[in-house]
Symmetry: C2
Subunit: 323 residues, 2 copies
């Protein structure tokens, strides 16, 4: 049987991906950096099956059709073309975190899907090529395949736009303490958001400085220099949300409690706690801290009205086959 | 006796002033547009007095020294030099709105101070020159001297940077319904903020588009085209706050309720209410609406938890002598 199961973590970007140079190939406007989130993952089983008349998708134990199936099917078609597969696939995917909890699932989903679908064919592609393929499904999925701290090189075409690890999970004991502020579905998904990024007058200014911020961020990780890391990570997150809020139409992902938490994090850091914030295209606040501060940060976040839940993740490994 | 009393309204900018090309002369990075706020004003009495050994300032019935006096004294010194005055002045200034209510007082204060101090000398300067002088005290004060809807031309030196009216108060029945969210003192005053504006990677992008936004905004006012007006006013406010949040260090003026109100305003407009928001360097939300919607907007704002007070102002006239 041509089947395989893979697991891939979610990741949180420190230098953000927002907007594409090429929408179809998902060549991003700038390179980005992230860490994988240990324990927050998607497990995906793929079976290439001659008996199927179309691709099938079971997501969190429910059969899915429509747009979600279409997006998966498009991704499978790229893999079919690349590896000369002529059959449809049965895909079963489970997130170990609740849907709509405000944790993005597209990165871990397309990373796991890519690894499972390719391995199920028996093909032996390099990790680098797997990251390029995952990128086609969801840009940030490319960063969920390599281990630990990952850089996605923007590149200029399909093969030059790929991700690789630059430090293993145990290199620096960072913890992402996630303040979950809303479980509501996003008003505008990040996929739509990427296409609107270039409508903001501020996007090019964000992009022009990205390479320098990335260099500073990567060096701060190499040096385990939390103060420099915190400044550039918060700055980069603020820049991305500035672009979002000035897109046309504007995208406001922040909720009132989001502001409260960001303000609290800045205040805690001013008191010596090694913590900084970064946000995805949503209202949740990822509070990145060093290990010794993780528990007190989690406890303090739980005490803030409007924080519904708190979840912790250390630095995670790369995508892996589990069957 | 060489004395005079003047009254000047506060104003709210539709195309914002944020950052200077020349800090000393307060030559702004871009031209700006505002409307005066009727009924929200400062009344200032100035007496040039040979008997004084230094300038004196009584602000809201309290004698003031230190930084506030120093700033007024600097402004008086410019007027002394310009008009060959050799005496100190006694200045008494009263705002008809509470200090720390989150309504900026520097625009109305320096407009009233300029008009009173100049008129008290007996000199007869043009309105244009008065606006240039007021600008030296506080950039936005230049816009509180002409009547109604006002443009401040950025210019390139002291005399070319001035403000003038382009439509009288009765030209368009706009109302500013101000949601007062905090009476707390600003963490960073707007004067400091202006000097930090150019530390944001986004400032030049904001500035580069300002002339076009100003043209669109002014035309929308001429045409009484609320829809176009609303889009450009909110966009410009978002751009300024994007610059603030990405300055180093970042300036976050928004409070949680600020976000709630901005979101509500966008929602009300989507339902057909002629209302849009704009914010100064503070958490209060200025909800600009056409007259027929003012009461329902005020009522709806009062129903939002965290809105401490609501204040309404129609379009105000220019600064005037009152004694």
């Amino acid at each position: 049987m041509k089947q395989a199961t893979a697991r891939a973590c979610s990741n949180i970007a420190f230098i953000k991906y927002w907007g594409n140079r090429d929408e179809t190939l998902k060549i991003p406007m700038n390179s980005s950096i992230s860490m994988n989130l240990d324990g927050i993952y998607t497990e995906t089983h793929v079976r290439w099956d001659d008996a199927l008349a179309s691709d099938e998708l079971v997501l969190n134990h429910q059969k899915v059709t429509g747009q979600a199936l279409h997006r998966v099917s498009e991704h499978l078609s790229f893999i079919r073309n690349r590896l000369n597969i002529n059959t449809f696939a049965y895909v079963e995917s489970v997130n170990n975190f609740p849907m709509g909890a405000g944790i993005a699932s597209s990165a871990s989903s397309f990373a796991a899907l890519t690894v499972a679908a390719v391995k199920a064919t028996g093909a032996d592609l390099t990790e680098r090529e797997l990251t390029s393929i995952a990128r086609l499904g969801s840009g940030s999925a490319s960063r969920s395949i390599p281990s630990g701290f990952v850089i996605w090189h923007q590149g200029h075409d399909h093969t030059s736009s790929y991700a690789e690890s630059f430090a293993q999970p145990d290199y620096w004991d960072l913890v992402d303490v996630i303040a979950i502020i809303s479980g509501e579905h996003k008003a505008v998904g990040s996929r739509m958001g990427h296409t609107s990024a270039n409508t903001s007058d501020l996007q090019m200014a964000r992009v022009n400085g990205a390479e320098e911020r990335l260099r500073i961020c990567q060096q701060a990780i190499f040096d385990r220099d939390f103060s420099t890391f915190a400044d550039v990570v918060e700055y980069d997150s603020n820049l991305m949300h500035a672009v979002m809020m000035t897109s046309r139409p504007p995208l406001f992902y922040w909720l009132p409690t989001t502001l409260t938490v960001m303000d609290a994090v800045r205040h805690w850091r001013s008191e010596g706690v090694q913590v900084c914030y970064t946000l995805d295209a949503g209202p949740n606040v990822h509070c990145i801290c060093t290990r010794p501060y993780a528990d007190v940060v989690a406890q303090s976040l739980r005490a803030i009205a409007g924080v519904n839940d708190v979840r912790m993740a250390t630095v995670g490994g790369g995508a892996q086959l589990i069957k």
